[in-house]
């Protein structure tokens, strides 16, 4: 509960509370890894259990998934630039790059929703089979995380506009950047172990 503030080092690490929040968030990400690992394991176990529904190889399309991957990976990069701008002390740079990041995230979501609707039209829904249940829940959980991240980032943008860079706002932005990179990492696993493998099998 100390309110002493360091005079140097990254802004977000200067208070003890800031350090604790960041550590706490890392631990939370550890829990998130377990959460996604469980979903991946479920997916792997139920792989091939498509019942009467179409096979993944018949539905997955390389084009659209590549665009989504490209968007999310780029957004992780722009998010990195945003933090870089924050470290330089530029609120304007930070907000600009953060907004670009969010637009890329929104684009990703748009494609994902389109994709889900498309599959549903082809007869693959949450209810069709164990395999498709696990697919939609795995990809959907990731998509839900992206959605929440976007909502959260918008709140932070408002706070940045109001308060500028303080130890508190910079800590919040730093934490959401960790979250965003994490979602990117999860997507890489979804891309390879769900889409790439799904397309060849």
């Amino acid at each position: 509960m100390s309110s002493h503030e360091l005079k140097s080092g990254p802004l977000e690490y200067r208070t003890e509370q800031g350090q604790m929040n960041i550590l706490g968030f890392w631990i939370f990400l550890g829990a998130e890894i377990v959460l996604f690992a469980t979903l991946f394991a479920t997916y792997a176990v139920l792989f091939g259990r498509t019942a009467d529904a179409p096979l993944p190889g018949e539905l997955f399309e390389p084009g659209i998934v590549l665009i989504m991957t490209f968007m999310l990976l780029t957004s992780s990069f722009t998010c990195g630039i945003a933090i870089h701008e924050m470290r330089r002390g530029s609120v304007k740079g930070l907000t600009t790059w953060l907004i670009i990041t969010l637009l890329l995230g929104l684009g990703f979501l748009g494609f994902e929703i389109y994709e889900f609707i498309h599959y549903a039209h082809e007869g693959a829904t949450l209810q069709s089979s164990a395999f498709w249940s696990s697919f939609f829940v795995l990809a959907g959980t990731h998509g839900l995380h992206v959605t929440l991240g976007i909502g959260w980032a918008i709140l932070l943008l408002l706070q940045l506009a109001k308060r500028g860079l303080t130890p508190v706002t910079s800590r919040k932005v730093f934490i959401i950047s960790l979250y965003w990179h994490f979602l990117d990492v999860v997507w890489i696993f979804i891309f390879t172990s769900v889409y790439l493998i799904g397309m060849v099998v």
């Binding site: 509960m1 100390s2 706490g24 939370f28 829990a31 377990v34 959460l35 829940v137």
Partner: protein, 644 residues
């Protein structure tokens, strides 16, 4: 939906339950209004972020849940005492063993231990609160609302009846329609959020907030057990979250994870459940080990023997606890190889556990043991738990388990570890730390009476169950055959003995509140660790000055050197967090959302979830930075507390 579908009808016992709920609620409202206590309740408790008060609320709720689970248990034992009893019908029996198991593990054992952790851990490490006090309040309210959601099922909508393990396909929508099973899923989900947050909170607290000089290997052993437990929580609870979510989606939105149609895999549930479930049993036993270690060291008046071995064995147990889950279903048919692997990993756990047993014995060896009530519980734990552990190893032999599985032998085993381990530890810890929390000890005489009733009742109740299990009595049956009667009668008698022990325990709380001598010094038992360095009642900021730690058994060292936690010349203003009603409100809305989902009223669930999101937004814009306690006020508080 008709009103008579909403409320459970047709059972006199349940009508009695409804009446007593209505009476208790009315009485509470009346008392609060009559004595004008609503403001007090809100300011002092519902909005508090003080770890000590949150801990006390956890303990109170856990005691209430122990009562509820205990009543369930006595009803089951009554039904099983004689063949052809007509006390409970099969459906009601199913519901009761389900709620008994769930309430005891999720809403009694864990909250009891988390309550003790909340009160004690910050004090033991010289911190002024936990790392995230707001989150801590959130954890508590999520647990309490989750517990309430689960508990109202017996008067509204109907209780779950598929066992606390809730195996599919039985628990799926096809075979268990209606809200009952949803209560299980959402009650656990809601309180699970809080447990996960507690894990994160205590990890950060213990890693970051220790007093200067308190290295990891100088931490009190209960704090160590809390840290290790928090690790298990953080890595095990997300598995439960996913498992519950998948079954909820199966039941409410028609997916096919655990169904018999659409190529679903019912055994997937058993795997997911126990991948969380086995670590869970260590979540409730490791803190118990920590409590016993503290108590034994205090009352043997010796440093804990083999401190480092104790810590490493806990870490080893925590690691192994993730690698044994298949021993809960050796009979699934995974094959000899898989079963052998899990059989060996299961038996391996007995090694570090044995190390701990020998260390406790070595601590006691040649010491001047003080037979206080707290220590009696700890001493009784050692042999009783060994019986539970040894029979656990028997169960762990895959081939033999084909005989023992799902019999009363198993029931006896897990009660020997859960009661002699966890419940004894809860009682021991409560008695031991009671003066720190409430400023007076529990009466020792009455405490001993309650101890002996409970201990003897426990063995009389559960020891025969090993044998009736070997005689072939399966678990989860609502009626017995005449051959099993004698042992069952004995068992039921023992169960009521435990019930008497519990009643005496609760009476002791009342008696001691009235008649016990008030604490003067804060160091009730001539303690060794930092929590005893604070005055009693503990000031809300805990430590006026945080001592520099130079040894383990930090307080013993301070007493030798004449140091205190009140060094007047070193006082500085103390920063503390403000109270807030958010956590209570947020989790209240979450309760409404979950209730909607239980009845599959999606509009209500969605409205509730939007409400929760709004609360989170409000929290994000909340820049309240707490307040400072000024030096003058600290001086005044400490002087009066220490009688200077």
């Amino acid at each position: 939906m008709q009103l008579d579908e909403f409320f459970v009808t047709g059972e006199p016992l349940i009508y009695a339950g409804m009446v007593s709920i209505a009476l208790v609620t009315a009485a509470t409202i009346f008392i609060l209004t009559y004595f004008k206590k609503w403001g007090w309740l809100w300011r002092e408790w519902l909005t508090t972020v003080d770890h000590k008060k949150i801990g006390i609320m956890y303990l109170l709720s856990a005691l209430a849940m122990l009562f509820r689970g205990g009543v369930d248990a006595l009803m089951m034992r009554t039904q099983l005492a004689f063949p052809d009893m007509n006390f409970l019908n099969s459906q009601h029996y199913n519901e009761i063993f389900t709620t008994h198991g769930t309430v005891m593990i999720i809403f009694m054992a864990m909250p009891f231990l988390i309550g003790l952790m909340n009160v004690i851990v910050p004090l033991q490490i010289g911190a002024r609160d936990v790392a995230f006090p707001y989150l801590n309040a959130l954890s508590f309210w999520s647990f309490l609302f989750g517990a309430m959601l689960f508990n109202i099922s017996f008067v509204i909508g109907g209780s779950p009846d598929a066992g606390w393990t809730s195996y599919t396909p039985l628990a799926g929508a096809a075979m268990s329609p209606g809200p009952g099973q949803n209560f299980y899923l959402l009650g656990l989900q809601l309180s699970g959020i809080g447990t996960l947050a507690t894990g994160v909170n205590f990890m950060v607290t213990i890693i970051k907030m220790r007093a200067p000089g308190m290295k990891m290997f100088r931490m009190p052993i209960f704090t160590w057990s809390t840290l290790v437990t928090s690790f298990i929580i953080v890595f095990a609870f997300p598995i439960l979250t996913v498992a519950l979510a998948l079954m909820t989606i199966d039941r409410i939105f028609g997916s096919q994870f655990f169904t018999l149609t659409g190529e679903g895999l019912p055994m997937m549930w058993a795997n997911l459940f126990w991948m969380w479930g086995h670590p869970e049993v260590y979540i409730v036993i490791l803190p118990a080990f920590g409590i016993f270690s503290e108590i034994i060291a205090t009352f043997a008046r010796k440093q804990l023997f083999g401190y480092k071995a104790m810590v490493w064995s806990m870490i080893l147990i925590a690691g192994l606890s993730f690698l044994v889950w298949v021993h809960h279903f050796f009979t699934m048919g995974a094959g000899a190889f898989v079963n052998s692997v899990f059989s060996i990993s299961t038996m391996l756990i007995a090694v570090p556990t044995g190390v701990k047993i020998f260390n406790w014995l070595a601590t006691l060896y040649k010491s001047k043991i003080q037979f206080t009530v707290a220590n009696l519980w700890a001493l009784a734990f050692i042999p009783s738990f060994v019986i539970g552990g040894v029979t656990g190893v028997m169960l762990g032999m895959a081939a033999a388990d084909y005989q023992f599985h799902n019999s009363y032998f198993l029931v006896a085993h897990f009660h020997y570890v859960l009661i002699a381990g966890t419940v004894f530890a809860c009682f021991a810890g409560l008695v031991y730390w009671y003066p720190k929390m409430f400023g007076h000890k529990l009466n020792e005489k009455i405490g001993k009476l309650s101890f002996w009733f409970f201990l003897i009742g426990f063995h009389v109740c559960f020891f025969p169950q090993y044998f009736v299990g070997l005689d072939g009595m399966p678990r989860r049956v609502f009626t017995i055959i005449p051959e099993w009667m004698p042992l069952n009668v004995i068992s039921t008698v023992g169960a009521f003995g435990m019930g008497i022990g519990f009643v005496i325990f609760v009476y002791n709380i009342y008696y001691s509140f009235r008649y016990s001598e008030r604490e003067q010094t804060g160091d009730s038992w001539d303690g060794r660790t930092l929590e005893w360095a604070t005055p009693t009642p503990v000031p809300f900021y805990n430590f006026a000055t945080v001592p520099h730690i130079e040894d383990h058994d930090a307080f013993l060292d301070m007493k030798k050197k004449g140091k205190t936690t009140f060094e007047e010349d070193k006082l500085e203003p103390i920063h503390m967090p403000s109270n807030t009603g958010h956590p209570f409100i947020m989790m209240g809305i979450m309760f409404i959302a979950s209730f909607g989902l239980v009845f599959e009223w999606l509009w209500m669930a969605i409205a509730g979830l939007i409400g929760v999101l709004i609360m989170m937004g409000i929290r994000s814009f909340d820049y309240d930075d707490g307040f400072h306690v000024e030096v003058d006020e600290i001086k005044r508080t400490e002087r009066s507390a220490r009688g200077l």
